[in-house]
């Protein structure tokens, strides 16, 4: 305990604080870039998975296989796989890129399920109506499915991304300079583990808690806008 108090002024030196803030920025950047690109790719996966017709069976199987496989592999294993695959073929790739690719692969698999759930929440008759009016697949998607399903998709997708801020701690294993990595570095440099990891935990908390509150707010807002519609319809009928 005395050791911790002794180390306090040295630990919270301007150099260390800017180091940790920088690392927190890296953590956020990893999560943001990885999850947003994963979200976009997930649309593609769902699009593949819902292609109709017998000739598209391999495409559908590909979509299903991707989601089912990557949802069942630990993030740490995905990170190692990406690291060694990329380094074997492109030895000068930066660790940040490798981490982003790993996060993207993982986020794609998870958000694809979220997006599929959202798409399936749209009533079947509407899609049939769109087909009857000779809408193309893209028109159906952009004009009928997405406008109705994004309130269902967005809250869990945001929740996933917010939850992933914490899981990025694992990429410290491959040596990306993010929060957990810097924490271990400071700990190895002689600072007390309680002090270092307590501080790191608080920084994660400071990032994750406001974001999760934002996610919950978004959910309640979108949920209320959705549940109002049936009531209005009842009144007119």
């Amino acid at each position: 305990m005395d050791r911790i108090i002794q180390q306090l002024p040295r630990f919270f030196s301007p150099g260390n604080i800017s180091l940790l803030l920088d690392a927190a920025g890296t953590t956020l950047a990893l999560t943001f870039i990885g999850c947003v690109s994963g979200f976009l790719l997930a649309f593609l996966i769902v699009f593949l998975r819902q292609t109709p017709g017998i000739w598209a069976l391999p495409l559908r199987l590909l979509g299903i296989a991707y989601v089912e496989i990557f949802r069942r592999i630990p993030f740490l294993v995905v990170t190692y796989l990406v690291l060694f695959f990329i380094q074997t073929f492109q030895s000068d790739a930066s660790l940040f890129t490798i981490a982003v690719v790993a996060i993207c692969i993982y986020a794609t698999a998870y958000t694809a399920e979220i997006i599929r759930g959202g798409f399936e929440s749209v009533a079947r008759q509407q899609i049939e109506a769109a087909t009857a009016m000779n809408f193309t697949r893209w028109q159906t998607l952009s004009g009928v499915i997405i406008p109705q399903s994004w309130p269902v998709i967005l809250p869990p997708a945001v929740a996933f991304a917010v939850g992933f801020v914490k899981d990025t701690a694992l990429v410290s294993q491959v040596g990306v300079f993010e929060l957990t990595f810097r924490g271990k570095e400071l700990n190895n440099g002689g600072f007390s583990g309680i002090l270092v990891f307590g501080t790191i935990a608080l920084i994660y908390f400071g990032i994750s808690y406001p974001l999760s509150r934002f996610g919950r707010w978004l959910e309640s807002r979108l949920a209320s806008s959705r549940s109002e519609k049936p009531r209005k319809r009842l009144r007119t009928a």
């Binding site: 069942r72 924490g183 583990g193």
Partner: protein, 225 residues
């Protein structure tokens, strides 16, 4: 692009890896069991406790679900020895993961607690059900229907995301074993492809049996895919 894959080397290590897979499964079961007990307590406190107890349960959930499990384990593993508390890595990982899972399971269990309405219990009393019958026909079906799919899903999350964190502090579970072997034979890609395959098979068996059990015991149409 002149890398030759040698999966034979990795497959030769299959017995070692399966030993690791057993440790992974043990760690997952223990974590989930311990977390479920904490979750039950936390949910009971949140639903029936006074303001102080509820506050404690809330603070616990908010803190543990908003910080990474890895940092919690580091705290136990690198922090606590300063106070003379020295546990081995398996204990630290188990304790850290259990505390972490307990936070999430509290929230899941609470949803189950809320799903039983007071009026239904009163109706059961009116038609003369005994306490056992009430538990059998009203409380358990309600709670099971609400939380079983979430619990089954969370078990897979613990089994996959959770236990592999143990590798970071050197627990010889599946990922840890793979890291150990790969540092000796340098067949990282092949080893991790094989390990990924084992994870897929193990979790698929786990979620299939959970879905079948849910269908048999609670008539829940849980999805396997």
């Amino acid at each position: 692009m002149n890398y030759t894959f040698q999966f034979g080397v990795a497959l030769a290590q299959l017995p070692e890896l399966l030993k690791g897979a057993i440790v992974t499964f043990e760690l997952g079961l223990l974590t989930f069991g311990g977390g479920a007990l904490i979750g039950l307590l936390g949910a009971a406190l949140k639903t029936f406790g006074g303001p102080v107890l509820r506050g404690i349960a809330n603070a616990y959930v908010i803190f543990f679900t908003n910080t990474p499990g890895l940092i919690q384990i580091y705290f136990l593993y690198f922090g606590l020895p300063e106070f003379g508390i020295r546990w081995d890595n398996f204990t630290c990982v188990l304790l850290g993961l259990t505390l972490n899972a307990g936070g999430y399971l509290t929230e899941i269990m609470r949803a189950g607690f809320i799903s039983v309405h007071k009026t239904e219990m009163e109706a059961a009393e009116t038609i003369g059900m005994s306490l056992l019958q009430q538990i059998r026909f009203i409380i358990v079906p309600h709670i099971a229907k609400t939380i079983y799919p979430a619990l089954a899903n969370f078990f897979i999350v613990v089994l996959v995301m959770g236990t592999s964190i143990g590798a970071v502090v050197g627990v010889d579970e599946l990922t840890g074993t793979a890291i150990n072997i790969s540092t000796e034979n340098y067949r990282w890609i092949e080893m991790f492809v094989v390990v990924a395959g084992i994870y897929v098979v193990v979790t698929f068996i786990a979620s299939l049996s959970l879905a079948l059990f849910g269908r048999w015991a609670f008539r829940i149409k849980a999805k396997v895919f």
